[in-house]
């Protein structure tokens, strides 16, 4: 094999300009894919953390069976009772992989500053637990004033635009209104603890966050709508869903468990979109690489028709001819990919030094443009492109390998 690699190398160098053009095509194609992949990888991570920590979805969400179908019609029946809260918390906390389990309630209602009222959607969370879920993500959550806390149960967090519309700021008072579970209108005084930025225009004008106990009193209930479960390791999400479901079912508690990615429609939609774009880029690169390899190899094969005839006369088999050109194609793919890796690393480095920012489509804060460097992905892509160019060259050479030797020898 070594001898054919040497021969292929020399033939690549024989027409430097043509080889260089092919190499550049492969390198650019490679880096287009790898850079986009590195970019989306960062975004996926960001979206994932945003869902798990930012949206306080944690890893798993536990609902009472049928809550998602019928819960809104008869909340009382499909919520977890005080006693169930205790039991479930105890059972789930037995699992070693679980960091914490915490109840949540979502409240829909109106908030007023005395003159104007606006609708809101509020998440009722246990402040101490939520702080653990947010973890380091809290730093990424632009906020003025203070967070939810246990000292002041009526202290609430208000999203930026909602606060602005109502002219509310930390320390100011207001009133929230919502129907209780049994249908009467209830109103409670609040004080704005903090104003936060959801970083999304669509939610910045309606989101609020309540202390869990406060949300319970507004709904006049001791129950919980759902639990969220934080795990030590995100990769065990699927496994733990099964384990916890089995455990709760065995204990006679009928429930449904959703994973964070099932819960976050935003994550699924964003990932879906980016995946389609990646596929699109991939297919374009595929066409470019294939066409330029076919083009280069066909020219090389045509030019070397007499050489092919000579090698055949010397006893090289048809397959040997194909392998010879496939080696050339494969080497081209290899060098092109290596050049692509270099481009990738250069771009990565420049981005780390210059650190440009951009505004995400649905966002309100600029995000740093970042491309991840994932050796495994680069390697897989390289193997793929080497194989692709090798195969392309092999197919391109097959006809030449099978041609009549006498005709090939006469070729000028």
């Amino acid at each position: 094999m070594m001898k054919w690699i040497k021969l292929a190398m020399r033939n690549i160098l024989r027409n430097k300009r043509r080889s260089l053009v092919t190499l550049i095509a492969i390198a650019v194609g490679f880096s287009a894919i790898s850079l986009f992949r590195g970019y989306t990888d960062r975004i996926y991570w960001f979206l994932k953390e945003g869902a798990i920590r930012g949206e306080s979805l944690a890893h798993l969400t536990i609902y009472k069976a049928d809550w998602l179908e019928k819960g809104k019609l008869d909340p009382e029946r499909y919520m977890f009772s005080q006693e169930e809260i205790k039991r479930i918390t105890g059972l789930v906390m037995q699992e070693k992989e679980v960091v914490l389990i915490t109840p949540q309630i979502q409240v829909n209602g109106l908030i007023t500053n005395g003159t104007i009222s606006l609708p809101f959607i509020a998440q009722g969370v246990v402040p101490g637990d939520d702080k653990i879920i947010k973890g380091s993500w809290a730093a990424l959550r632009p906020m003025t004033g203070e967070q939810l806390n246990d000292h002041k149960p009526y202290g609430v967090e208000v999203a930026k635009d909602l606060a602005r519309f109502l002219n509310l700021e930390p320390g100011k008072d207001g009133v929230v209104m919502a129907p209780t579970l049994s249908g009467q209108m209830n109103a409670l005084d609040i004080q704005v603890a903090g104003v936060f930025d959801t970083t999304m225009a669509a939610t910045n004008d309606k989101f609020m966050r309540f202390n869990f106990d406060f949300a319970q009193s507004l709904y006049n209930t001791k129950g919980a709508e759902k639990f969220v479960v934080l795990l030590k390791d995100e990769k065990k999400t699927g496994k733990m869903r099964k384990a916890i479901l089995a455990k709760l079912t065995a204990a006679g508690i009928a429930c449904e468990i959703k994973t964070w990615n099932e819960m976050s429609a935003y994550y699924a939609r964003s990932k879906g979109l980016l995946d389609v774009i990646l596929l699109f880029i991939l297919s374009i690169v595929l066409v470019i690489v294939t066409m330029s390899t076919v083009n280069t190899m066909s020219m090389a094969i045509l030019e070397r028709t007499r050489e092919i005839g000579t090698l055949r006369a010397l006893g090289l088999k048809q397959r040997g001819i194909s392998i010879l050109f496939a080696t050339e194609g494969g080497l081209m793919g290899l060098f092109g990919s290596l050049a692509g890796i270099v481009i990738h690393l250069i771009v990565c480095t420049i981005l780390r030094i210059v650190s440009p920012t951009y505004m995400p489509p649905s966002g309100t804060v600029a995000v740093r443009l970042w491309v991840d460097y994932i050796p495994a992905t680069l390697f897989a892509l390289m193997v793929f492109l080497v194989f692709l160019s090798l195969l392309t060259a092999f197919i391109a050479a097959r006809r030449a390998a099978g041609q009549n030797i006498v005709d090939a020898l006469k070729h000028v």
Binding site: K3, N11, R14, A313, G315, K317, Q318, N404, V406
Partner: protein
Amino acid sequence: MSLIEMHNIRKDYHLGETVVHALRGIDLEIDKGEFVAIWGPSGSGKTTLLNLIGAIDEPTEGDVTMAGRNIRSLSDNQKSELRNERIGFIFQSFNLVPVLSAVENVMLPIQIKGVSYSEAKLKALGRLKEVGISELAHHRPFKMSGGQQQRVAIARALVNGPSLVIADEPTANLDSETAQIIISIMRDMNENDKITFIFSTHDQRLLNQVKRMVRMEDGRIVNGDARR
């Protein structure tokens, strides 16, 4: 048994509607160790005949046997092996691989056979010495004269120890002095190693060196056994 046996060989080429009868009934036997010149005017069928003997083409009619094996019965891969191990080729325009040095060119047939690099190199250098251009072993073909290139080609044809070497107009691209030298090198190989040589030429001046002359005209052998 002769090394090569041909009986009533015909070869037609189809050029659109017209058929060219390149060989019109050839009977020829060549024994081991012969040094044969196929000679005749251009278009008489010399190249066509050599291609059939060299197992790179097939007759329209009749069979060619080499050492008793009917070439027609061989698969493409078997013919490749036959050429690699038993037949050496020398071409009119040398046909050296331009990206390989002289010694690497000579190594090709051995490496195609699958012999190790070091053994191939040793043999190749030996053959280059025999044809008298050891000092050019590491030169690329474009740095050599025609005569030097053809010597490399001879070394390449001989390197696998073939029983037969086929040379189609090996001197047509060389001046007459160099042509004589090339033929005499081939002749020496024939005498020393008992390798059979068949070459074609339209240059009568080269015939003084051969043992047997096969005269062709119009796709037929007009005198197949002129000996000297």
